[in-house]
């Protein structure tokens, strides 16, 4: 009798667990993602873990969070004045700053000879299943840290050139929109194709900020404020592969 009760109980637990897993798997997608991007004399490799929730009755729309490692490498890349936004944009209202004009007279250039940085950021994801095998998505880094190699740089301001022997990556990253942003932040628009139940490949457009700080040289704005932050805003194309744990 006890044995029969135990079998019934285990069967119920197994059935409940199976139902629960089925429910979770249909509402959640979890995957890891590897991406390589390429641009002119620069490139990046990124690995991320993504946890998305599926929304709506047809579960086509996804929103979620994740973590991403981005390694960026370049050669002789021009990094421009990174801010503060009050010097680089015609107006500084968050989000509307995207449409603000550039105050180019306040831009100086730090040409980094061999930038190499590694960023670990929390990120946000949005996605939509457009067909059984096709999916479009967007993701963007929100907050994190960066470390990397110091490199020599050439600072150019009003035709005057100076050497900064050891510029280094800015260590703190924070998404605040436009030139309010701090540090190095990665974002992707992508189209993904499902190869098998767990494997997908994707093609992507990457917009990535990489920020370095000069050590011995500072830019001086007309009012005397100093700046040592310089940013490369890179537009790259890339390919990626995803492996699903849950979908």
């Amino acid at each position: 009798m006890i044995r029969k009760l135990l079998i019934v109980l285990l069967t119920c637990i197994a059935a409940q667990t199976g139902w629960a897993q089925k429910t979770v798997s249909s509402r959640v997608s979890q995957y890891v993602d590897l991406t390589a991007t390429f641009g002119e004399a620069q490139g990046s490799l990124a690995g991320s873990f993504v946890h998305n929730w599926k929304l709506g009755s047809r579960k086509r729309f996804e929103i979620g969070i994740g973590g991403r490692w981005t390694s960026y490498s370049g050669s002789k890349k021009d990094f421009l004045t990174a801010g503060p936004a009050k010097y680089t944009r015609s107006y500084t209202v968050p989000f509307l700053i995207f449409f603000a004009g550039q105050e180019e007279q306040n831009f100086d250039t730090l040409t980094l000879q061999r930038p190499l940085s590694h960023s670990i950021n929390a990120m946000l994801n949005l996605g939509y299943t457009i067909a059984p095998k096709w999916y479009v998505g967007f993701n963007i880094d929100v907050i994190g840290i960066t470390f990397g190699r110091e490199t020599s740089a050439i600072f150019t301001s009003n035709g005057v050139t100076k050497t900064d022997p050891a510029s280094k990556p800015s260590s703190f990253n924070l998404l605040l929109t436009g030139d309010h942003d701090q540090g190095s932040l990665n974002s992707e628009f992508y189209l993904r194709y499902k190869l098998a139940s767990r494997w997908s490949i994707k093609a992507l457009y990457q917009f990535v900020f990489i920020e370095y700080q000069s050590q011995m040289i500072s830019q001086t704005f007309p009012d005397g404020e100093m700046n040592d932050r310089f940013r490369n805003k890179a537009n790259n194309l890339g390919l990626g592969v995803s492996y699903y744990f849950k979908n």
């Binding site: 390589a36 641009g39 004399a41 620069q42 020599s152 050139t161 390919l239």
Partner: protein, 142 residues
């Protein structure tokens, strides 16, 4: 998966730019014509910490225009070699005259008109990518 990684590597390698300096100058400048040009500064190249350099650096003035001339010049091979006029032996404040045209032979570089040459007493051969000095010539007024 293996093919995908190979594609990544191939594209990544192809996206890299190779920078090389020719061994010898193809079109060397004619000798200095002292009837129209005046020698303002000269100096002999010495080896830097990262390269061997020999020859003479000469700043000439022709019709109010200044040029740096390298004569009997030779330098060891290196990446991303540039020609500077610098305030310091290890360049912190400098004028970039351009990429080195060749590892050996006479060559000529225009100097921007706004430059005050009194403030730039060194002609340098500098590896910009790695911030390594290959050679220097201290310029003396003639």
């Amino acid at each position: 998966m293996k093919n995908a990684i190979n594609v990544f590597l191939i594209v990544f390698i192809l996206s890299c730019k190779k920078e090389t300096t020719p061994d010898t100058i193809i079109n060397p400048p004619p000798p200095i014509d002292t009837t129209i040009s005046t020698i303002r500064y000269t100096g002999n190249f010495q080896n830097g910490p990262w390269g061997t350099t020999s020859g003479t650096a000469i700043i000439i003035e022709t019709n109010g225009k200044f040029q740096l001339r390298l004569e009997g010049f030779r330098v060891s091979s290196g990446p991303d070699l540039k020609v500077y006029l610098s305030k310091e032996l290890q360049p912190l404040n400098f004028i970039r005259l351009g990429s080195l045209k060749a590892l050996s032979g006479d060559q000529l570089y225009d100097i921007p008109a706004t430059s005050n040459l009194m403030n730039y007493p060194y002609a340098l051969i500098h590896c910009e990518k790695f911030n390594h000095l290959f050679g220097s010539a201290q310029l003396m007024m003639q």
